[in-house]
């Protein structure tokens, strides 16, 4: 796996990583603070944002998730995007 990836791949991926990090943090926080209305609102806002970013990323670089959480092009393109330890 030595496919040269454009700088944009790393930028888009990092944007997703940043948004998803906010979601992990809010998720763990809400696990012990289930009544924080503002935090739930933030969680839902960032969930929407994350989904939108992933649609853009996957159109360009292939599916991010397996088992039906992402769509596939023809031919089966799970192998298209590089594995995280290769980039």
């Amino acid at each position: 796996m030595n496919k040269q990836l454009p700088q944009e791949y790393y930028q888009l991926l990092e944007e997703i990583q940043a948004v998803d990090f906010v979601l992990v943090e809010l998720n763990l926080y809400l696990d012990t603070h289930p009544d924080d209305y503002d935090a739930i609102e933030q969680f839902n806002t960032f969930t929407k944002k994350s989904k939108e970013l992933k649609i853009v990323f996957e159109k360009k670089y292939g599916p991010l998730m397996n088992f039906g959480r992402s769509f596939s092009n023809y031919p089966w393109d799970w192998k298209e995007a590089p594995w995280p330890w290769q980039v």
């Binding site: 790393y10 991926l13 990092e14 997703i16 990583q17 998803d20 990090f21 992990v24 943090e25 998720n27 763990l28 926080y29 696990d31 012990t32 603070h33 599916p63 991010l64 998730m65 397996n66 088992f67 959480r69 995007a81 594995w83 995280p84 330890w85």
Partner: protein
């Protein structure tokens, strides 16, 4: 069940080939206070812990697998271009003899991973306090690794992981209070 997402939780970059650093980092892959032990501990304890904190164990246990993948990526990138001679010089000759460059679940001294690294007592307070201790030990390990590493890119990733231990410890401390509140609730009929 679980889904895989083709991304790291936080970017892992490596400045240069450094098998000696990889040898130390493997402590957090297959060591007593490493990410595998953490993930298996929490995901195993969640079945019998009270519902109010089962979600937290589930979610932190899941995050630990993302950390395991980051550590694996660091080790892989630090060793992938090393010659057998460099592996030997770095103290990885014995590893190379058995595994080539493949990763293996052992600690920095080469002791293989064992389930005896963690416990499931079935007592919620005992289990959650073990979890707090596990996070503090992992945080300390990351600090010792940062102290020995002169790779600024690796250190960036290690500092992220160290901070996650701090947050997990805090959440587990909150969970301990939730468990005590549950335990001390008076039952009225």
């Amino acid at each position: 069940m679980w889904y895989y997402e083709k991304k790291l939780q936080y970017p892992v970059r490596v400045s240069q080939c450094n098998p000696m650093l990889a040898k130390f980092l493997i402590e957090q892959y297959g060591g007593a206070d490493g990410e595998l032990a953490a993930a298996l501990r929490y995901l195993n304890q969640r079945y019998t812990i009270p519902d109010k904190v089962a979600g937290l164990l589930n979610d932190i246990g899941t995050e630990e697998f993302a950390h395991l993948e980051m550590i694996a990526t660091m080790v892989y990138k630090l060793t992938k271009d090393a010659t057998p001679e460099q592996m030997k010089e770095a103290g990885l000759g014995a590893h190379y003899a058995d595994h080539d460059k493949a990763l293996f679940f052992h600690n920095a001294a080469g002791a293989p991973f064992t389930a005896t690294y963690f416990q499931a007592k079935g007592d919620p307070i005992a289990d959650i306090y073990e979890d707090i201790a596990a996070e503090e030990k992992a945080r300390a390990t990351y600090q010792w690794l940062i102290n020995m590493s002169d790779d600024p890119d690796i250190n960036d990733g290690l500092k992220f992981l160290r901070e996650r231990e701090v947050v997990h410890s805090l959440r587990f401390r909150e969970a301990a209070e939730i468990l005590k509140e549950e335990r001390d609730k008076k039952v009225f009929f």
